[in-house]
């Protein structure tokens, strides 16, 4: 099919991009890597969009260390996340996640900001952001806002970003000494969306668990996290399976996904009991 595009403009800086969105009468769509948006447009799931291309905005790029926080620009490509030494050292979960995201061509274009803003429940980065307790930085007509990841994801493809706002970066606490960051998922084929997956982060303050592909949006699973804190892995598996309400589709049933998520947690727990990272 041929995409039906309302218009296209390339923003030169963040102010320009925000102005373009403000003038778009609600039809503005931010174009970053385009790996979900362009596909949706080509299937006419989205028509008439006024595309605001942010790819040239230098302020949205780059990975920086700021004290005990790591800041990752929204335009950082998945392929850059995979190779960035600061990310590898301070947020290894993100680097590991890139091994599971799609294919090389998609990783070369897709951006971490786009993935988090799109909030696909089957995507890895939204779950990672919540598991790492990231802060989502947005800018908009009323100025910049910082949103904790726990308050960012609201529903299926829904976030608390408002019309006219742009996700500019995420930041996250760097990994503590002895911190564990584990991601496990199972996909039918390499690069496919997972049938189910999970991120487990173990910090001094306790475990953080976020699942992939088993709900409408990334959420922490407090009961299972508490069981993990108590060292009760079997109890955590039971709690996790009870906490989720996974979908049934042509790839797998809810019952299968519920089973699988428990297996993945057991495997994550086995990793956690191995050598420190």
């Amino acid at each position: 099919m041929k995409a039906s595009v309302g218009g296209y403009a390339r923003a030169t800086d963040l102010r320009h991009a925000l102005d373009l969105l403000a003038q778009s009468d609600g039809m503005g769509r931010v174009l970053a890597g385009g790996q979900s948006l362009i596909a949706a447009m080509n299937m006419r799931l989205s028509t008439g969009d006024l595309l605001v291309d942010i790819n040239q905005i230098a302020a949205l790029k780059g990975v920086t260390l700021d004290g005990d926080r790591l800041r990752i620009g929204a335009l950082t490509r998945h392929a850059e996340v995979a190779t960035d030494p600061l990310i590898a050292r301070h947020a290894p979960l993100l680097r590991r996640a890139t091994d599971l995201i799609a294919h090389a061509a998609i990783r070369n274009r897709g951006t971490i900001g786009g993935a988090i803003a799109h909030a696909d429940p089957a995507a890895e980065f939204p779950a990672c952001a919540l598991a790492l307790d990231a802060t989502i930085h947005v800018d908009g007509p009323d100025g910049p806002r910082d949103i904790p990841a726990a308050d960012f994801f609201e529903g299926l493809f829904e976030t608390t970003i408002q019309d006219g706002e742009i996700l500019t970066a995420i930041s996250l606490p760097i990994a503590e000494d002895g911190e564990w960051q584990v991601i496990h998922e199972l996909a039918r084929r390499s690069g496919d969306y997972a049938l189910a997956g999970l991120c487990v982060v173990r910090r001094k303050a306790g475990h953080r668990i976020v699942c992939i592909s088993v709900g409408s949006h990334p959420e922490l699973v407090p009961d299972a996290m508490a069981r993990m804190d108590a060292g009760d892995i079997d109890g955590a598996v039971v709690a996790l399976r009870a906490a989720i309400d996974p979908p049934s589709d042509t790839q797998a049933s809810a019952a299968y996904r519920r089973h699988l998520i428990g297996v993945l947690l057991q495997r994550a727990a086995a990793d956690l009991n191995g050598e420190p990272q």
């Binding site: 099919m1 041929k2 039906s4 299937m43 006419r44 199972l186 039918r188 084929r189 390499s190 690069g191 496919d192 969306y193 049938l195 589709d249 042509t250 790839q251 797998a252 049933s253 809810a254 019952a255 299968y256 089973h259 699988l260 297996v263």
Partner: protein, 793 residues
């Protein structure tokens, strides 16, 4: 001169060697020319409005809003198209009882599957046509749909086509020997229920056609991504009312076919009808989403099978009950009954046994039509046969290799006839199995499996023997009244500079037809392959023939090319003999020059002979034939089909906690007779295996009870991809057919025929110690886990 294929040092020895593909350079330079690359003056685009209902009466069509879209020229309904295009009926006389109602290019008053065309929008751009198609207002009155195969014949199920009486399209039962006695006397009887997932071919290039009608000449040209240009010529001529000589079908580069592009599609015929009505070129390119609901589907079977074995492992009987659902119409002109018919023909195929009963029941339903897709029926028959054989071996505590050696037709048993009445000229089951066992180092693999088990890793080995039907004679379609040619032809011409042009009726779909033809012609004439230019895919400039399907291109088209090339060689040498004043049989052509047969000494380059013949013919003796263009045709006649054989093996690892199957390695030994180009044959086998692995693990079209396709996109319909593909080790046994001089049989479908069964047997070998078993493809992680009894809900 007879060909001395056994001598690798013979002159011009290109047959049997890997030579470069003549079209490879063009394709990698981006100089391929697919239908969508062709742009003609005054060309317009057609987009089809498709039924969103599986079954609905069409009460009215309001195109007023669509016609208001800028760039839109016309909107056509089924009735509009029917004024210039007659409907067709997809039946064959030799498939007794097969029935199907007339099918129109665009549905006239009733849509019978989701995706059936109900209107066509023609516009100056594809974009405008798509915009307008969304605005065509069709008033539907939904009708009860038939979507469940196993209840399609129940009294409570509505009859899809009231004129047909019931939902039974075709039924055939074949009985040989005394089934009941064999089962009554058997040491063991094993019974199982198999399912093969409905899937489709997913060609890289979607279906494409561009049709130009010239009313001044009364001539139609169709650029078409097809496997069978002459068949399409016949169909367009017949249904649009033109002489065949006034229809030219051009099939340039094609981006994969796999059987998908050998059928007549309503939207493609409608495109031709629209071109005739509008008298301007009309292009239709299917997009990926509509391909999923309109390309033919295949393999939607449920099979109940039984095998009876004696205590020593002898197979006493097979009893097969096959069911398949084909869609609302039998596909024209090859029908949708061939697949079920093949299951009856092919079950038990490799084995020498006496008692056989097989029945296929083919029913209508409101889904996308099914028809022939690569290895038609073979994967189903091989899955059932080899699944049952492995289950019998397990029940007898026999090794899977041993039970096969116990029952395979002996290598010296030929000619032989199977209980299904298939005639085999010469097969090599035991030699192939022995070679496979060596190739995979079977005993070492069993040791590796045991060592893995000791460290908690679950692995399995699966084997699948098979036969493959290739080189079909007129017994396949012609006998049933279809105007589908079983012959192929080749015209080979020498140009004045000594270069060769060969025009063949077989077509290039990307598989290397032109490479195969170039090396045959080069060897047959005595020139370098680079001196041969191959022309295919044009009904106006190639001889008449069937095209590319049923693994026939090399075996039939190759033989025609060989005989035409040899005839040209003889014609050249007749002239050379007169010029050199010596008997032609003392001369030979080697590397593009006339030489002495005895010592190979150069006598005359072909360019000199060409100069004399074409420009100084006055210097040759009057009456000397100088026909430097020769045409030959070939049709198999001794056997209905040239059966080939082979055997595959799969080594898998099963995660018994998640059900995930990892393919570790795959082997195939097959016997396609004379191998013309080893690399092309190996890659045919590998490509075929990949499609078989897709069937085993990934591919399945899901419908809901209302007949809606649930996973019609590349995100949801999983094709096999490189990351999951194992190393594939390919080897050959060569038993040339004696029916042709070339001796080649087909190799296009062997890989697909046996791969899924090998994987199923490997998974079940892994699951057996846990009491698990899977028989419903594809073997998704969930199905494997359920097969292990680890998932209840």
């Amino acid at each position: 001169m007879t060909m001395r294929f056994g001598n690798p040092d013979r002159p011009n020895s290109y047959i049997g060697k890997t030579v470069p593909r003549p079209n490879a350079g063009r394709l990698v330079q981006g100089r391929g020319r697919y239908v969508d690359d062709i742009v003609l003056p005054r060309m317009v685009h057609v987009v089809f409005v498709r039924s969103p209902y599986a079954h609905a009466k069409i009460k009215g069509i309001d195109a007023s809003e669509a016609l208001a879209v800028k760039g839109v020229l016309r909107v056509f309904t089924g009735a509009d198209i029917a004024t210039v295009c007659t409907p067709w009926v997809g039946v064959l006389a030799h498939l007794k009882g097969l029935k199907s109602p007339p099918e129109y290019a665009i549905a006239v008053d009733r849509a019978a599957w989701v995706g059936e065309p109900v209107a066509a929008v023609v516009a100056s751009t594809r974009l405008a046509a798509e915009e307008a198609a969304a605005l065509v207002d069709v008033d539907y009155d939904p009708l009860p749909e038939v979507t469940d195969m196993m209840t399609a014949l129940d009294d409570a199920t509505p009859v899809l086509h009231p004129d047909m009486g019931d939902n039974l399209a075709f039924e055939r039962t074949h009985v040989e020997g005394d089934i009941d006695a064999a089962f009554a006397s058997a040491h063991k009887v094993i019974e199982a229920h198999f399912k093969t997932g409905r899937h489709t071919g997913v060609t890289l290039e979607p279906r494409s056609i561009l049709v130009d009608w010239n009313p001044g000449e009364g001539h139609m040209t169709a650029w078409h991504a097809t496997q069978a240009p002459h068949m399409v010529q016949v169909v367009l001529a017949e249904h649009l009312g033109m002489p065949e000589s006034r229809v030219r079908v051009i099939c340039g580069d094609v981006g994969g076919s796999y059987g998908i592009k050998v059928h007549i599609y309503p939207d493609e015929v409608a495109t031709a009808a629209i071109a005739k009505i509008m008298a301007r070129p009309v292009k239709f390119i299917a997009d990926r989403l509509e391909s999923f609901t309109t390309d033919i589907h295949a393999r939607d079977h449920e099979i109940w099978g039984r095998i009876a074995v004696a205590e020593d492992g002898e197979i006493l009987a097979f009893d097969i009950d096959d069911w398949t659902a084909i869609g609302a119409y039998s596909v024209y002109p090859r029908t949708s009954a061939i697949e079920g018919n093949q299951v009856v023909n092919l079950c038990g195929g490799p084995y020498d046994f006496k008692n056989y009963r097989a029945k296929t029941t083919v029913v209508f339903q409101n889904k996308t039509p099914t028809s022939q897709y690569r290895a038609v029926g073979h994967p189903i028959a091989v899955t059932v046969t080899e699944g049952l054989v492995d289950m019998a071996a397990a029940a007898l505590d026999m090794d899977p290799v041993a039970i096969r050696h116990r029952n395979l037709f002996a290598d010296d048993a030929y000619p032989a006839t199977s209980p299904a009445k298939m005639r085999f000229e010469g097969l090599s089951h035991h030699a192939s199995l022995t070679k496979l066992v060596d190739l995979m180092d079977y005993d070492a693999l069993r040791a590796d499996q045991a060592a893995a088990k000791a460290r908690g890793v679950v692995r399995g080995i699966g084997i699948a023997s098979f036969i493959e039907l290739t080189n079909p004679s007129p017994m396949m379609y012609g006998i049933g009244g279809a105007r589908i040619s079983a012959q192929d032809g080749c015209t080979v011409r020498m140009d004045p500079d000594g270069s060769i042009v060969a025009a063949s009726s077989v077509t290039e779909q990307g598989q290397g037809t032109e490479a195969m033809l170039s090396q045959i012609v080069a060897e047959g004439v005595g020139v370098l392959p680079t001196q041969v230019r191959i022309v295919t895919g044009d009904t106006q400039s190639t001889p008449y023939g069937g095209g590319t399907w049923a693994s026939r291109g090399a075996g039939i088209g190759g033989e025609a090319a060989l005989q035409a090339a040899k005839a040209l060689r003889n014609a050249i040498l007749e002239v050379a003999g007169a010029m050199l004043q010596c008997p032609p049989d003392t001369l030979d052509i080697r590397d593009g020059a006339v030489v002495n047969m005895s010592d190979g000494a150069d006598r005359m380059p072909l360019s000199e002979l060409g100069r004399i013949v074409y420009f100084r013919g006055d210097t040759l003796p009057k009456g000397l034939p100088r026909e430097l263009v020769q045409t030959r045709h070939y049709t198999p006649a001794d056997y209905p089909f040239a059966f080939t054989n082979g055997v595959q093996a799969s080594y898998v690892e099963v995660d018994t906690d998640t059900g995930h199957v990892k393919l570790l390695k795959h082997w195939c030994v097959e016997d396609c007779g004379r191998v013309i180009n080893p690399q092309l044959v190996d890659e045919q086998i590998r490509g075929g295996i990949v499609q078989g692995l897709g069937a085993a693990l990934f591919e399945e079209l899901h419908y809901d009870a209302e007949g809606q396709l649930l996973n019609g996109s590349m995100a949801d319909y999983l094709v096999p991809m490189a990351g999951e593909m194992p190393d594939m080790i390919i080897a050959h046994v060569e038993t040339p057919t004696l029916e042709s001089e070339l001796g080649a049989k087909g190799a296009g479908e062997a890989g697909t025929a046996g791969a899924a069964a090998a994987v199923m047997n490997a998974i079940n070998d892994a699951l057996r110690p846990f009491g698990g078993e899977v028989t419903a493809m594809p073997f998704t992680p969930e199905r494997v886990l359920r097969g292990l009894g680890k998932l209840q809900d």
